[in-house]
């Protein structure tokens, strides 16, 4: 695992070096109340053929981050600073015109809601062939054959027939397969999957994720898998980035993260996943409160108001993203990580009082705090 400071070689050699290197990327939007800092100083890198998971709740900036890297945000309202190096090319000052050379052929994106991501008045075949014909200069019949093959490869039954279907004639899972086929059509090297399974039935979620993984392996494609569900990225990403309030709060190889998480937010996200082993009627753990206002972010750690282990220092001093002692692949931003003596002390006290880890912190004056039996 190379570090972020590895110099990007000017001539990228296929199969070596990171395909994507993001350094100190910030993205903000103009709003009537002031600038919204949706992404703040994010750095990450991704190797060819690998998967990076970006995890966080709604409003954590994870979707904005991926759209910002891909240059899909409206230039009129979004402002981007920092560096994005893709295959040795610096993209940070690129506009739509330059990005158009990458879209579809080098980078592609899968959207959250397959119900709205496909053009409702265009046959699905046409939605695939139009990029084949435009980017790869295929003639009509070659494009059609290729599109049918693509539909077959994303396991759409009767692809020849489905080629002339409209999106509304298909189910959500099928539509998401079409969206995947559209994204894969011109063989991108980097795929952004923005909550690809959130809008789908649980039964099809795994199928779609497996399909994505299989396609990724076959094409040796790098993938950024954005989700709010740690369970989705657990077995599929090599590295995980946890985002909160537009910042990276923890970053680690997947195995390390699950074995040794440092950030209370990561812990809270994990405990918010219901477990099969839980007895019936177990109270569903939730993270109380809401993410902070990004127009006027609070001083100190953005998670402090919701953190069960909060201390004085957290409210005034923003923790920097620092590596764990002896392991520079694992970074976290917390003054009192979950295994620090201070936090363990609070944890023991809360457990003794019978308070759930994920209930709102004492002193936040919410009903949850008085709820312990």
């Amino acid at each position: 695992m190379s570090l972020a400071d590895t110099a990007a070689s000017p001539v990228p050699v296929p199969g070596t070096g990171p395909i994507l290197e993001v350094t100190d990327l910030s993205t903000s939007f103009a709003s009537p109340r002031g600038r919204v800092g949706a992404v703040n100083g994010v750095s990450l890198s991704l190797e060819r053929g690998r998967t990076l998971g970006i995890v966080g709740e709604s409003g954590s900036g994870k979707s904005v981050l991926s759209r910002s890297i891909m240059g899909l945000l409206p230039a009129s309202t979004a402002e981007r600073t920092g560096s994005i190096v893709f295959e040795g090319k610096e993209l940070s000052d690129w506009g739509d015109k330059e990005y158009r050379e990458l879209w579809g052929t080098e980078m592609a994106m899968i959207f959250q809601d397959p119900m709205t991501a496909l053009n409702p008045v265009m046959k699905i075949g046409k939605q695939i062939t139009e990029s084949l014909r435009f980017h790869l200069d295929m003639d009509r019949s070659t494009a059609k054959d290729t599109a049918v093959e693509l539909l077959r490869s994303v396991r759409i039954p009767e692809p020849e027939k489905r080629f002339s279907s409209y999106p509304h004639e298909m189910s959500g899972g099928m539509r998401q397969r079409v969206v995947i086929a559209v994204a894969l059509a011109c063989g991108p090297k980097l795929l952004f999957a923005d909550e690809p399974t959130t809008a789908l039935d649980v039964t099809v979620q795994a199928q779609v994720l497996d399909l994505l993984e299989e396609q990724q392996r076959e094409r040796f494609m790098a993938m950024i898998l954005v989700t709010h569900d740690l369970g989705v990225v657990a077995g599929r990403a090599q590295e995980i980035v946890v985002m909160y309030a537009g910042r990276i709060v923890e970053k680690a190889p997947t195995r390390t993260l699950f074995a040794d998480m440092k950030m209370p937010y990561t812990e809270a996200l994990l405990s918010a996943i219901p477990k099969l082993a839980d007895p019936p009627h177990t109270r569903l753990a939730a993270i109380g409160g809401r993410p902070p206002d990004l127009v006027n972010p609070p001083e100190g750690c953005p998670f402090a108001p919701r953190c069960p282990y909060v201390r004085e220092r957290c409210l005034t001093e923003l923790p920097a993203l620092t590596p764990v002692d002896g392991d520079d692949t694992h970074l976290f931003a917390c003054h009192y990580p979950v295994d620090s003596p201070e936090t363990i002390e609070i944890k023991d006290r809360l457990t003794a009082q019978g308070l759930l880890i994920s209930s709102p912190p004492p002193g936040s004056a919410s009903d949850g705090a008085q709820d312990g039996r």
């Binding site: 991501a117 008045v121 990029s131 980017h135 011109c186």
Partner: protein, 319 residues
Amino acid sequence: MTAGGLLKRLAQLIITVLAVTLFSAFLLELLPGDPVEVLVPFGSDEQREAVREDLDLDQPFIARYGTWLSGFVTGDMGNYYTVSSKRPVWDRLKEAFPKSAQLVLYSQILALIIAIPVAVFAAAKKDTFFDRMSNTTAFAMLAIPNFALALVLQYYLGVKWKIFPTSGYTPITENPAEHFEKMVLPCITLAVGQIAIYMRLLRSDMIATLQQDFILLAKAKGMRSKRILFRHALRPSSLTLLTVAGLNVGTLIGGALIVEVLFQIPGMGFMLQEAIGQRQIVAFQSLVAIIAIIYVIVNFGVDLLYTVLDPRIRNERSA
């Protein structure tokens, strides 16, 4: 379209025609004065009596309406009176309809050709100088009454600079060049107000469509912005525009009264104006009925077009 749907349409047509003709007949009834005085001002008493009887003016209103209706459904639209003679309404209608239809068709094409690209680019460049300019221009155009515009155009383009003829009509079969030359000014007059409306409608629908995920997907596929605008966004945004354009076509056939009169195009509007002025009660009712029928048929056509534009509607209908 199913048989049930067709039947519903037919019922709708009948109700519309009945309501419209009954109401307009009633309005004419309210006008003071004796129609016979207007129709045959210099006739003898016998001639006057004959006209009175022919028009059923000696009968009560409802009976007269009933007589007209039974005539109308059997294809007898009554007579059109001139000072010296009478002509079947149908004969004049046959001549008038194509003129109005051409006028409306050309002006709609002109309006759409201008409005669609302007609206599409205004939506794509929302809140820019181009967008604001086109909005302001649209409002200004909407504010010009068409009779005033007609006179201005006639004076400058017709009389002063002699670019286009000021009035009249030549059938396209007789002399196509002259036909179109004479159509230019009336079409511009009719189109100006419509351009403004179409532009505003399409612009706001386009802006809504451009927010959709599938537009972002098209962008992420690397499609050019022109293609995204015209191939991806225009079609799903055009339903309201189509509805209003359809309603306009229906209204303008027979409704482009002032323009037809000012430019001396003897179309349906011209005829209608004449019929009102001269108290041609029977002819007026028949004209109104025909216009109502055209209106309903045009909108039926628009409904069929919906299904071409949006496959989701196609499915709803067949289900």
